[in-house]
Every structure is written in structure tokens, then in C-alpha cells.
């Protein structure tokens, strides 16, 4: 049995206009220490999937098991890096991270918790800004704090919900490289949600494409056959890279066309282009 098992996950949202079926039976597995990405158009239900696995939202049907235990509520063993950072603005960088460290290690002596916090802040290269408030930081720095806080939860599974989508291209590339380095050091099991095909291929071992909603499901996982460490330069020339990219784009484009000719009961939401 896989480390993370998701079976037949369904979720609909009730709104004034009626019922929107967001997820129509999602299946997904992750092995321990694996880095898996889920790629799909904006608005296809990726954030819903993360919220379900995090336990913040309860599914209509289906099952989620992490390390054998069924997921019924939120918990730090499924750490999250939220898309909109969700840092507490009245706390410094350090206190934001310390809040998680203290919550997860209540029995540890204060000095050890302080050291853990310092290590995490150093890991994301924020030691000089440790006493700043989130408002004083750039978007990239804020997201580093969020990553440090996610790791502070010492999660069995780290969920990352489009963590870099709000950043400019240069900052995004830097943070991707840093995430690769951190993951190389820690080997945390990661599930990354993204709408950027290249980001997924650069970072992940396996990639699940998600069909456009409503009733989104995941396509068969595509293995990324690139060796690690993965230097960004020349990577796009590798045959393995091009193969993975082609498979993903074909699946996503094909499904998109299918969905638009099948005719939705409602207007599909605008989609970010798949690069």
C-alpha cells in the first residue's frame, strides 16, 4: 500500500446557482520521499484537492489515507504551503515559524525549539530578515517563510498549493532552485500543485495531469525520467524532458478540447495558458 492513498475522491460545492461538481473521483498515490506534482488549468479543482488532503474540507465521497491512517481532520503531519502565503501579519518571520515549531514539539525544551526555528530560517536564507514583519518582505521572501513554516510542521507530507504562482518569473526560478536544494537535503514527501508544466517537470518525480473541471479527475501519472540533481540549464534539451512535456501538454490540450466540445452546463472559467 502506498504512503498516500487517495481513492475515488468527490467533492461538490453548493452555491446560489446550484451544485458545482468540482472533483469527480480523484485517484492518486504517493510513495514515501517522493516528489509528485499535479498539473492542471486554473480553476480545475486543484486547490480543492489540496484542501481535502489537508483535511480542511470534508469530501462527499472517497477515501484519503496517509501512512495507513485515514484523514479526517487537519493536522501538522500534512503541512501546507498556502498559495496566498497566509502568514500572520502581526508576527515576525521568526515568530511565524516558531508558532509551528512550538505547536509540533510541545515537549522539547525551549532552547531546542529555538535552535530548530533558527535552522529553518537559515535553510530558506532568511536569517537577516528574521525579525521583520511579513509586510516588510517581498513576495518571494514571504513564500520562503511559508515554506519554512511548512517544513517546521515536520510533515509526513508537505502540500504545496501553487506556491510560486504569485511571483515574478525570476523570483520563481530562484525559489524553484531553492526548493530543489531543500528537497535534496530533507527528502520530505511533497505534493506540489501547479499550473506550470515546466515547473512540474523541473521539480517532480511523477506528474499527474488534471482534467479541466467540472468533475475533474487525474490522468495517468507521467514519470519524469530526468536524473537528479537537475540543473536548470540545458534541461529543456534533454529527450526525457521533452517526452514528459509532450505527454503532459497533449493530455491537457486534448482534454480541454474534449471538454469544450462536449459543452458544459455552465461557462468554463478562464484558464491560464499552458506554456
Amino acid at each position: 500500500m502506498a504512503y498516500l492513498e487517495v481513492r475515488g475522491l468527490r467533492k461538490s460545492y453548493r452555491a446560489r446557482g446550484g451544485v458545482t461538481p468540482v472533483l469527480g473521483g480523484v485517484d492518486l498515490t504517493l510513495d514515501e520521499g517522493e516528489f509528485v506534482a499535479v498539473v492542471g488549468y486554473s480553476g480545475s479543482g486543484k486547490t480543492t484537492l489540496v484542501s481535502l488532503i489537508a483535511g480542511l474540507v470534508t469530501p462527499d465521497a472517497g477515501e484519503i489515507r496517509l501512512d495507513g491512517a485515514p484523514v479526517t481532520e487537519p493536522g501538522p503531519e500534512r503541512g501546507i504551503v498556502f498559495q496566498q502565503y497566509s502568514l500572520l501579519p502581526w508576527l515576525s518571520v521568526r515568530s511565524n515559524v516558531a508558532l509551528a515549531v512550538d505547536a509540533v514539539n510541545p515537549t522539547l525544551p525551549a532552547s531546542a525549539r529555538r535552535r530548530l526555528t533558527d535552522e529553518l530560517i537559515a535553510l530558506v536564507n532568511l536569517t537577516p530578515a528574521a525579525w521583520k514583519r511579513p509586510r516588510e518582505l517581498s513576495g518571494g521572501m514571504r513564500q520562503r517563510v511559508a515554506v519554512a513554516r511548512g517544513l517546521a510542521m515536520q510533515p509526513k507530507l508537505l502540500l504545496m498549493d501553487e506556491p510560486f504562482s504569485a511571483l515574478d518569473a525570476l523570483t520563481r526560478a530562484t525559489l524553484q532552485d531553492e526548493l530543489l536544494r531543500i528537497w535534496g537535503e530533507r527528502r520530505t514527501t511533497v505534493m506540489l500543485i501547479t499550473n506550470d508544466v515546466d515547473e512540474a517537470i523541473l521539480l517532480a518525480d511523477r506528474i499527474y495531469p488534471m482534467t479541466p473541471g467540472p468533475n475533474a479527475v487525474l490522468g495517468p501519472a507521467i514519470e519524469v525520467g530526468l536524473p537528479r540533481p537537475r540543473p536548470r540549464r540545458h534541461m529543456s534539451l534533454e529527450p526525457a524532458y521533452q517526452k514528459a512535456r509532450q505527454a503532459l501538454v497533449e493530455f491537457l490540450r486534448g482534454r480541454s478540447r474534449l471538454a469544450s466540445t462536449a459543452g458544459h452546463p455552465r461557462e468554463p472559467r478562464p484558464r491560464a495558458p499552458i506554456q
Binding site: L56, P74, G75, R78, L88, W90, L91, A103, M153
Partner: protein, 256 residues
Amino acid sequence: MPIDTYQKVILPLLGAAGVLVVWAIVSATLAPDLPSPLRTWQESRRYILDPFFKDGEMNQGMGRLAFYSLVRVGKGFALALAIGTPIGFLLGLSRRFHQSFDPIVQFMRPISPLAWLPLGLVIFQKSEPAAIFTIALCAMWPTVINTAVGVRSISQDYLNVGRVLKLSRTTTLRRIVIPATLPYVFTGYRLSLGLAWLVIVASEMLTGTPGVGGFLWQEYNSLVYSHIILSVLTIGAIGFVLDRLMGLVEARVRIS
């Protein structure tokens, strides 16, 4: 001349001068009993230039009278915050509490201080606690309502952080709910202080206690109309300063 001085000093002074002119014209033509600005100054200067003299219980410098009023307002305001803040948090946190007490809050909010004061006198038998009771009861509603709104408008993102970290109820309250609500709470405090100052005059007038409001009423009965104007201006000036001070506190909370 810098444009800033013009906008912040010259224009307000021009406005004040305009009001003085209208006041002088009205007192010279329409209302002969209304003292002119000059007469008001002549009859009031002792109260301003020697603010702490004391000739009797009701004949004291403006500084002394204002101090009595401020102490009274301080007590009533403190009581309003002590009662209003927890009620506000309960209203925001508990749906049951909200359903039970929100109608009562909405019902009591518009009741005038003039209505509460006699009831306070009946309950406490003395004018001083009755005045404080009235101030507290009238001034607490902005605190109650702003705190409740603040709690209810905490971003779900912040609460989700607490849920993922499995923070206890007290830790969530201490680390997330209270800091997130603080700016709303202090806006409530500022409005409450303004109301408390409004109420002081009414309560002092009715109970005849020494203070700016009590002095105003006594001078009306003694037909010294210039002192009514003196009291009105003092009340306005102090209210203005109090609001600015609370505004500074509020701004500090908003930044942090």
C-alpha cells in the same frame, strides 16, 4: 508659502474666523441675549488663564472642572471597555451567544443617556455611580459591535493555519483571534470614548455634580450665558483632543 502650511494652518484659521464673524453678527442682531465673542472672552478669561482656582464647589477654573469630568469619563469608559470587550468577543465567537444576545444589544444601543440616568439613580441612590453607570452603558456599544464584527471578519486563511497546527482553543484565541481583531477593537474604543464624552454633559447636567457639564447647567440657571459658551468650547476642545489621542493609539495597533 509652502502649500502645506496654507492647507493645514491658514485655511482652518480662516474657517474659525468666519464662525466668529457669524457669531458676532447673530449676537448683535438676532439674539441679543447671546453674548458676543468679545464679552464671552472678557467674562471667561479668568477661568481659562487661571484654570485651577477654586472659589466654591461650582465656581472653579476650567482646568479643575475638566479634570473632574475627565476622571468621571475615565471611570465610565474603563467600565465600558471592561464589559464591552468580552461581550464583543463572545458575540463574535459563539453563534449561540450571538443568537441569544444580539437582539438585546440592538435593542439597548439606541437608548439615550437621558433615559438611563434616572434608572441609575434608582439603582445606586447616589449621583456619582449613577453617572458612571450611564456613561458605561451608553459608551460600550461601539466596542461591543466592533469587536464582534472584527472577530467574525478574521480571514479564514489565518484560522486554517491554526487548524493545520492543531492549536488549542486558548492558543488560537491568544495568537490568532485576538491579534487579528485588535484593530477593530481599538476603532470601537475610539468611538466609545467619543460617546462617553458626549454622555458626560447630560449626566452632569441632570445630577448637578461638579464638572464642565454641571457648571454649564448651573451658569444657565444663574443667567451667566457667556459661561455656557465657555463650557461648550471646552467640551469641544477636550473631545477633539481625546479623539486625536485615541486615533494615535488606533494607528499604532493597525501598523503592528
